[in-house]
């Protein structure tokens, strides 16, 4: 393989990228102070920290999105000043984001060669050569994607693979993966890890950002921890323990990530019977009782979120009934579902959960705006009073109630969404991926809150792609596979094996 720049040729173990004392402020807010990071060739380096710890700032400085205020950024032995992402790319750095941005209507091949098509004579595009190149790339990565299919409809996992293939074809020597597994199922994640390992063995340096300890310990050899915008430590992974890392990240001990209390289970709150929507889910029946946390497990795309959306009235369904405390929940009527006492914390908080530029108060009262109104009129004062109450109960970190939610960390944004829905005083709370992409401290907060709410008699459906979360929090686990309900496993019998078996196999005849 030909390397783009001679300076980037590195032996395994050589330092390829070094940040020393890098700082970055936005107005009065210091997002990063004295950041340190050393990446070596042939190494997978984990970067961990709570949200707001400065991880994203470091990534954006490396990617050329932000310019550092001070400090050294040394790449292949030379100090660099990136002015744009193009500069960073040219220097052999590729960033794989959580949600890749491919051109949906173009083919996989065209996406990989975007902006640098291979040409034949007279400037004609050499499709055959490009296709062959992509085939060889995919073979090397051990993936099976048709180079001619359009990017639209590819799973997030496949889209990430394509971003990685693009990075490799660009001769990237440094790959930064910013929470790549947040939206992946475990099977997809393990395929991604296989690719990452083979890239490491080729001598590339990989920076891996994740909130999941099992992944970090499985994949990485070095770990850097950050907290509150500052560098804390860098260690060989063998020299660390999960508890030790958590302590460094949070600045104190975390009791338990899954503080599930046993609470008395009450009457049936939600009853779903034979719910069917062609192509989405088929013949789904289950019950949820007061005080119960029902986990809904399965691979991404198994139809879990679709069932939740149908119950809440966002999407329609062909047949079946939903009843809440004996009353029928009408089809495709979100307002009626809310009035009956259903709340849905959606999976995509930035697209479905909060109106990003709006302030905290506006966001957290959006779902209760009608009941806040007096004589039909609503004022900032009434919104603020209601919002402050709920935001404080969830200890959302912010100064003012008109602070834009766009400036909050992911964990705090998620708390705003939770506050918004808890304010509706629901009897059934559906949480879809409640802790996706949020830090360990906030995660423990959210889990403790869910457990406490269940103790107060709330019925909870928790959709999660993280097995430990479902196993740790749910009283009962429903498993879906390709639109069918394949298992109903009580807490006492639930293990990673039983859940994964049902998520990947058809329903056994006797359940």
């Amino acid at each position: 393989m030909v390397m783009s720049t001679a300076s980037m040729r590195a032996e395994a173990g050589d330092v390829v990228l070094e940040l020393r004392g890098v700082s970055k402020s936005f107005g009065p807010v210091q997002a990063l102070r004295d950041g340190e990071l050393v990446l070596r060739a042939g190494s997978i380096h984990a970067l961990m920290g709570e949200n707001g710890a400065g991880k994203s700032t470091i990534v954006k400085i490396i990617a050329g999105l932000y310019q550092r205020d001070s400090g050294e950024f040394v790449l292949g032995g030379e100090t660099v000043h990136f002015r744009s992402t193009a500069d960073s790319k040219q220097s052999g750095i590729a960033v794989i984001y959580q949600e890749p941005t491919l051109f949906p209507d173009l083919s996989v091949t065209e996406n990989i060669f975007m902006g640098r098509h291979l040409l034949k004579s007279f400037g004609r595009i050499d499709r055959a050569a490009m296709r062959g190149h992509v085939r060889r790339l995919f073979q090397r990565l051990g993936v099976d994607i048709d180079p001619d299919r359009p990017a639209e409809g590819l799973s997030i996992a496949d889209q990430q693979i394509i971003e990685i293939a693009k990075a490799i074809s660009l001769e990237a020597r440094i790959l930064i993966m910013d929470e790549p597994t947040a939206a992946l199922s475990e099977v997809e994640a393990s395929r991604l890890f296989a690719v990452a390992r083979s890239l490491r063995d080729e001598g590339r340096a990989i920076l891996f950002i994740s909130h999941r300890f099992d992944e970090v310990y499985d994949l990485c050899d070095t770990i850097t921890v950050m907290r509150d915008g500052a560098y804390i430590s860098t260690d060989r992974i063998e020299a660390t323990t999960v508890a030790g890392i958590v302590r460094k990240m949070v600045g104190r001990d975390v009791d338990s990530l899954y503080p599930k209390q046993t609470v008395p289970i009450g009457d049936v709150v939600l009853k779903v019977e034979k719910l069917t929507s062609t192509g989405q889910f088929h013949d789904i029946s289950f019950e949820v009782r007061a005080g119960e946390i029902v986990g809904l497990a399965g691979l991404v795309g198994a139809g879990r979120s679709e069932v939740a959306r149908a119950i809440f009235g966002i999407d329609s369904y062909e047949s079946g009934t939903v009843t809440l405390e004996g009353r029928v929940v009408p089809r495709l009527n979100t307002v009626a579902a809310m009035q009956l006492g259903i709340a849905l914390v959606p999976e995509d908080r930035r697209q479905q959960g909060i109106v990003l530029p709006f302030g905290l108060a506006r966001n957290s009262t959006l779902a209760i705006k009608s009941s806040l109104a007096r004589f039909g009129f609503i004022t900032n004062r009434s919104e603020n009073r209601s919002a402050a109450d709920w935001l404080a109960r969830l200890s959302v970190k912010a100064n003012a109630l008109d602070t834009s939610t766009a400036t909050l960390s992911g964990g705090n944004q998620q708390k705003v969404v939770l506050a918004k829905w808890l304010a509706t005083n629901p009897t059934l709370l559906i949480v879809d991926e409640p802790t996706r992409g949020i830090d360990v401290g906030t995660k423990a907060d959210v889990h403790a809150l869910l457990s406490k709410l269940a103790g107060e008699g709330l019925a909870i459906i928790m959709i999660s792609s993280e097995l430990p979360e479902v196993l740790g929090m749910a009283d009962r686990i429903l498993v879906m596979r390709e639109g069918h309900m394949t298992a109903d496993i009580p807490r006492s019998e639930a293990t990673a094996e039983t859940v994964m078996f049902s998520a990947t196999h058809e329903r056994r005849s006797a359940v």
Binding site: Q67, R83, V254, A367, N384, A392, S395, L449, K452
Partner: protein, 357 residues
Amino acid sequence: MTETDTLVAPVTRESRKYAAYGSPLWQRVLLTREFAVIIAVIIVAIVACSSIPKFATPLTLSYLLLDLTPVLLIALPMTLILISGEIDLSVASTVGISNVVLGFLYAGGVPIELAMVICLAVGLFVGALNGFLVTVVGLPSLAVTIGTLALFRGIAVGILGTTSITTFPAFYKSLANANFPRTGIPLVMVLVAALVIVFALLLHFTPFGRGIFATGRAREVARFSGVRVKRTKFILFLLSGLLASLAGIYYTFRYGSSRGDNAVGLELTVIAAVLLGGVSIFGGRGALHGVIAGVVLIGLLQSALRFSNVTSDVINIVTGALLMASVVAPTVFAWLKSRLFSRFFPSPHATRKVRLQ
């Protein structure tokens, strides 16, 4: 860091306090786009009054307000529609239809009051047609209302042909043109003020208004939060049709004329004024006081330039340039900021030769 300090359930932690606002009142009021437009109105008014002879009279004010009334009436629902992320280009044609129907019915012997009610009903109907095509059929409002712009104008011209009707009851004509005694303030301002208050309350102080903002900024979030997005938009198009037909009735009495080509191009003046007043063309942002300032600013400028014997094409150029500037200004400021910034951090390829070791 203390080892005994543990992370406990959030609800039992000491409760946080939040300030209601992140910045002091004067900043929230003065450092806004809306206030900048209000300042511009004041500056233009002072300059015009002091430099143009005979400008500062009650008569000028009267004509200014009379001319602005149809624009202001249509700008009210247009503000809400733009904030909800849609647009209605058919308003001037609705004014035209209302104007023609009023003249046609009155000339045909229908009592004027009944004719006015029928005009308002026609306005509601055309609004409902737009709303149906946008919310139920699901077409983009830009395409729908370009279509109905041509359709309604065609109907208006078709009803009267090339003739025009110029006889209307003197009572209504004088009502539309009269001022409060000894002032330059037209009587019709009472109606305008009442409607401004209604729309300001609707947009800024009702759950419905909160839904409009959420819909324009993040449609999906609004849908997930129980905002009836389609119903909201349908109501806004109804209001737009209703206010446009009201503006058409006023237009008829103000100028005493009913013609197929009346008020052609008025939609562009309205949209220009609304955007100038700080409403985002992308939806989700805007305030009614800014819009009113925007309408007054455009009217004042046009009136001042006309007083200075500037020709109408120059007036159009000035209005257009102002609109472009107001739309482009935020982007230009952001660009300038980044240019200045990168000066201190040149491209890596320029600094590559500087070796550390």
